[in-house]
């Protein structure tokens, strides 16, 4: 096909031809084109089908407010649905598809909906698919989703990269039309750090779309010259292709920069889009205005578009939707389109002006006091039916109709905080009002100053005020200064299938129905009819709906009010919001110093918070994880095992009041702990519930090392800082997290001391007498390497934990394994660790689950009454101290081969299985290779007095019922002889 709708002039590069295809057909265009302008140049008006009625549609606009020309771009994994053909920059090889049609755009089977439009009115879904309720999810919704029209996803991973960035400036200018460019010029010359962002790929705004002169240059040339001057200023950053999508608190703006969307193939290493967070001391919003349509019967045919957009296509893109066009307007601006197209050789069939006193023209016919009554043309406009002032009708043949109902300032970003637009009678439009986002001012058409001169001047004024510039204001360049002449005209009387919201298929009739059925507030209107709820957020449709609503209610538009706008200003890809935080990059991965050693050993890893921990270490021939875990447990209990416990939180507590401080945060006492000793500690929340447990080792009179569980490390640190800074600000105590500073290993089992003696330097006595259970010390290992040694045990065996500076972790692990060969040392992972702590009856995260108290955990007597500590008072509440309170117990299956599962509930042997008869629940379960059966820990009502009782463990979810016996939670070494050996 040839570009037979191409006009002369325009800002396209005719020396280069770009090939592209739409729905499989080949076309050509030029650099500077959008997909929509190139298709129009090729005489393609039909670009999509509507959402509900599947009506044929073409572009209504030439910008980001587009409701109709919504297409799928690219193919394969890069396929992107719901993009606007009016903003998609043309590149060689671009492939686009229309959406929401089957089998083809020209013949769409679902267009049958249009015939049933009487049934598919506002509220149709609510009324029709209400009963039976169960049908909604399985039957109605899938059908509706299939029929409702939006593009399709590729269902493949997005191959592009997205990034995030931060920028700071003295002044952010949003929009590079006449107001924004002049503002940037003045700000730039003042030396301020300026960012000028514009969603378009060519800065200039309406200057590129009009024939007006600025100073002695064509508007577009003045814009180009200004952009050139600005780009030479080191303090000005131009950001074209950048949409400011949101105005947030305290002068923070979100902006999406499209880096490679306009390129056929993205250069490697470049993100496709960047989400910028811009910190601006001051902001001038120069977002311009959007033309509004007039509603009339069948006003949605391809070829019917906004008059100023038609002018943009002619002046900027040198194209027209048809060779014979008509204009329908209620204001002077519509006449400009007629003049500009006439000057480019397009035949103006007529200008239909609603005003009886409309200006006439030498060049074409003006029908004064006339209105468009109806239109014809199934896949594109062919005729308009005009109702003339004298009551007669006339049919006008034309392939396109430009519609102008006046202009609406783009107030969206002013509403993102607490701004509420206010009605300005002389403009018949809403302008920014209420409280604007802090440090924001608005200039140009966005504040209702529509003339070019007015925009240039208001941009200058706003920036001088924002930056506090003194001295004489620079002269405003000469430009047209036509007065604003907007009298409202929203819809042609008597129309019904007249579209307000073309994207969501909302007609004048729907608004009337909504009113009739009682949905009369703007918010109800919006939700009932879905007016303005499509991806264009009603940029071209909201005002018409409000105006009709006001008329029906007999109120003024400001009385009815307007809905407000939320971010984002235009649709934003989820990938852009995610940036690099996707897949494994969603959160950081923390590796312990000996991670790569474990990997060499073939460890299977598990995520614990952000950490990767070795779960078990399979040996050749082991085919099931239980084989590895059972072996690791038995080997540790019979000789010696080593486990990486670096991930436990470590907090260094120092200061003369360190012991006093720990006395406050732990429910048990620490004041009298001797230097060189370690103690188990339980922390409570202020409400008396257990927060976390760990150990505190007193390395010096004024230094403790506190450990926390892996999961709670950050939370406990935060809690301790709260107590320190907010409750004990006078205390001499300092905290620092040293989790990353030390690599720490548990060395457990009867041969653990023998193994450690091989590496601990000889001057340190770690015999049972010299270094008894719960001792701690600063020592050296391997000939002088500083280390910390703690004689603590989680496994229930004779055990130590040894810590060395992180960078030696890997070497220490290798050394322990090498020196341990003579004892058949075993590396064990978190599973074996878990099995051994259950065998020993030690509480862990499953037991400290946010609902349990010290009493429940069997540690009620640990809560010191001799001192005040966090949570100690509320732990005494009667409700937490009932005689039959849950107590931690051990559980064994009566039948050795039966399963014990965590999450199962405990019931008496007889009686109903229901919540009212619940006796408790199982928190942890494991197969104990030491005992040869599964075992469990759980909480049981009055558990302290029910040893030996038989209960039913039930799990209705997994259909499990087994008999279990209540036993001591200390399955292994209940007297604690091994840990003291």
């Amino acid at each position: 096909m040839t570009q037979n709708n191409r006009l002369n002039g325009g800002q396209i590069d005719r020396n280069t031809t770009l090939n592209f295809n739409f729905d499989g057909k080949k076309y050509t265009g030029h650099p500077g084109d959008t997909l929509a302008s190139a298709l129009l140049a090729n005489n393609v008006r039909l670009m999509g089908r509507s959402f509900k009625y599947h009506r044929p549609r073409g572009p209504l606009t030439a910008g980001s407010e587009e409701p109709n020309a919504i297409v799928e771009l690219r193919s394969g994994a890069r396929q992107e649905p719901n993009t606007r053909a009016t903003t998609a920059e043309l590149f060689d090889g671009l492939a686009a598809k229309s959406q929401n049609r089957w089998p083809s755009l020209a013949f769409d089977a679902m267009a049958i909906n249009d015939r049933f439009s009487n049934f598919l009115t506002a509220g149709f879904y609510y009324k029709t698919f209400m009963w039976p309720a169960a049908f909604w999810e399985k039957i109605y919704e899938p059908i509706i989703r299939k029929a409702a029209g939006l593009g399709s996803l590729s269902m493949q991973a997005d191959p592009d990269e997205y990034d995030k960035g931060f920028r700071h400036c003295d002044l952010l200018i949003i929009g590079a039309g006449p107001a924004g460019l002049n503002a940037a010029l003045i700000a730039g010359r003042s030396g301020a750090e300026v960012i000028l962002a514009d969603e378009d790929f060519r800065m200039g705004g309406r200057l590129n779309a009009e024939t007006f002169a600025v100073a002695d240059l064509a508007g577009a040339d003045w814009a180009a010259q200004t952009v050139a001057e600005l780009s030479a200023m080191p303090n000005v950053r131009l950001m074209p292709r950048t949409t400011v999508i949101g105005a947030f608190d305290h002068g923070i703006y979100g902006a999406v920069e499209r880096i490679t969307d306009h390129l056929a193939t993205s250069p490697t290493g470049k993100p496709r889009q960047i989400l910028w967070r811009i910190y601006a001391k001051q902001t001038v919003l120069c977002a311009g205005a959007t033309e509004r349509p007039i509603a009339f019967e069948n006003n949605d045919r391809p070829g019917i578009m906004l008059a100023a957009s038609m002018r943009s296509y002619a002046n900027r893109w040198a194209t027209t939707p048809a060779q014979r066009v008509a204009i329908f307007t209620n204001n002077d601006d519509g006449h400009r389109t007629a003049q500009d197209l006439h000057a480019k050789g397009v035949k103006i069939a007529a200008v239909i002006d609603t005003r009886p006193d409309a200006p006439s023209s030498m060049d074409y016919e003006v029908l004064q006091g006339a209105q468009v009554a109806d239109t014809k043309g199934r896949l594109g406009l062919t005729f308009v039916e005009v109702a003339r002032a004298d009551g007669t009708n006339r049919t006008i043949e034309c392939g396109a109709l430009g519609v102008s109902g006046g202009w609406n300032p783009n107030v969206q970003l002013t509403c993102h905080q607490r701004g509420r637009p206010i009605w300005k009678e002389e403009l018949a439009a809403f302008v920014p009002g209420g409280t604007l986002p802090p440090y924001m001012s608005v200039a140009g058409a966005a504040v209702g100053t529509f003339s070019t001169h007015g925009a240039l001047k208001s941009g200058a004024d706003a920036v001088r005020k924002a930056l506090g510039l003194k001295g004489r204001a620079p002269a405003v360049p000469q430009a047209e200064d036509a007065p604003v002449n907007q009298t409202p005209f929203w819809y042609v009387t008597g129309c019904s299938r007249a579209w307000l919201d073309q994207q969501n298929d909302v007609t004048v009739k729907d608004v009337k129905l909504s009113h009739q059925e009682g949905f009369r507030s703007v918010e109800h209107l919006k939700r009932y009819t879905t007016l303005g709820m499509a991806t264009d957020q009603g940029k071209t449709s909201n005002m018409g709906g409000l105006a009709i609503m006001a008329e029906l209610a007999g109120k003024s538009i400001p009385e009815v009010g307007t809905t407000i706008f939320r971010p984002p200003y235009t649709p934003t890809a989820i990938g852009t919001l995610a940036g690099r935080m996707r897949g494994k990059e969603f959160h950081p991965t923390r590796l312990t110093p000996s991670h790569f050693w474990a990997k060499e050993r073939g460890a299977v890893f598990v995520e614990v918070g952000n950490w990767l921990r070795a779960q078990w270490f399979p040996l050749p021939g082991e085919t099931h994880w239980r084989q590895s875990v059972d072996r690791e447990v038995l080997a540790t209990r019979s000789s010696v095992g080593v486990c990486d416990c670096t991930t436990l939180g470590k907090i260094d507590v120092q200061g003369t009041d360190a012991a006093t401080f720990l006395n406050k945060v732990y429910c048990n006492g620490f004041a009298k702990l001797a230097v060189g000793k370690t103690r188990y500690g339980l922390m409570l929340r202020e409400d008396g519930i257990a927060l976390d447990d760990g150990t505190a080792a007193r390395l010096a009179e004024d230094q403790f090392v506190v450990t926390t569980t892996t999961a709670n490390a950050a939370r406990v640190y935060q809690h301790m800082e709260f107590v320190r800074q907010c409750l004990m600000p006078q205390a001499d105590v300092q905290l620092i997290s040293t989790t990353e500073a030390w690599a720490q290993y548990a060395v457990a089992g009867p041969n653990s001391r023998k193994l450690l003696q091989k590496i601990v330097d000889a001057e340190f006595d770690i015999s049972n007498e010299g270094f008894p259970f719960m001792a701690c010390a600063n020592i050296t290992v391997c000939g002088g390497l500083r280390a910390r040694l703690f004689r603590i045990s989680f496994s229930g065996e004779l055990a130590f934990e040894i810590a060395v500076p992180s960078r030696y972790g890997d070497a220490l692990m290798r050394k322990l394994m090498a020196e341990g060969e003579e004892f058949d040392v075993t590396a064990y992972g978190t599973e074996a660790l878990g099995v051994m702590r259950i065998e020993k009856g030690h509480a862990a995260g499953n037991e400290l689950n946010g609902t349990t108290t010290a009493l429940n955990l069997g540690m009620g007597r640990m809560v010191s009454k001799a001192k005040d500590s966090i949570g100690s008072k509320l732990a005494e509440r009667p409700g937490l101290n009932e005689p039959d309170a849950l107590m931690q117990v051990g559980l064994r299956p009566v039948n050795k081969d039966d399963k014990v599962t965590a999450g199962g509930h405990l019931m008496n042997t007889n009686g109903p299985v229901d919540a009212a008869h619940d006796q408790g629940y199982v928190t942890s379960a494991a197969f104990s290779p030491t005992l040869g059966s599964m075992i469990g820990l759980g909480f049981l009502k009055d558990g302290g007095n029910r040893n030996g009782e038989t209960l039913r463990l039930v799990s209705p979810v997994t259909n499990l019922t087994v008999e279990v016996e209540v036993v001591s939670a200390h399955f292994v070494d209940p007297e604690g002889e091994r840990v003291r050996a």
């Binding site: 608190d249 305290h250 002068g251 923070i252 910190y279 905080q417 607490r418 409280t435 802090p438 202020e686 409400d687 950050a714 935060q718 800082e721 709260f722 320190r724 800074q725 907010c726 409750l727 004990m728 600000p729 006078q730 205390a731 905290l735 005040d868 100690s872 008072k873 509320l874 509440r877």
Partner: protein, 90 residues
């Protein structure tokens, strides 16, 4: 939001963790408080539309806890101070 840290200057609120009302600093005196006092301290929170004194922990920064007075209707921050400079007496 931007929080003007008394020591570090303006910082993005994303660097902070919100810890709740600054009333948490007024922990009841364990020697004299009644159970009702403890109940109120642990469970009752004001929900003002207007200025609210609250704690922000600079977890991604210097680990200070700040008392931020923020208008809950506008997010305007009228004062920022270090908790440990104005806190309860130990």
């Amino acid at each position: 939001m931007i929080i003007n840290h008394p020591l570090l200057g303006p910082r993005d609120s994303a660097e902070f963790v919100y810890l709740g009302t600054a009333n948490l600093m007024d922990r009841p005196d364990p020697d004299t408080a009644t159970p009702e006092d403890w109940h109120d301290y642990a469970y009752l929170r004001d929900n003002p539309a207007g200025p609210h004194r609250e704690l922000w922990f600079h977890e991604g920064g210097d680990r200070s806890i700040l008392i931020v007075t923020r208008d809950t209707t506008t997010h305007e921050i009228s004062s920022v101070e270090l908790a440990r400079n104005s806190g309860a007496q130990a």
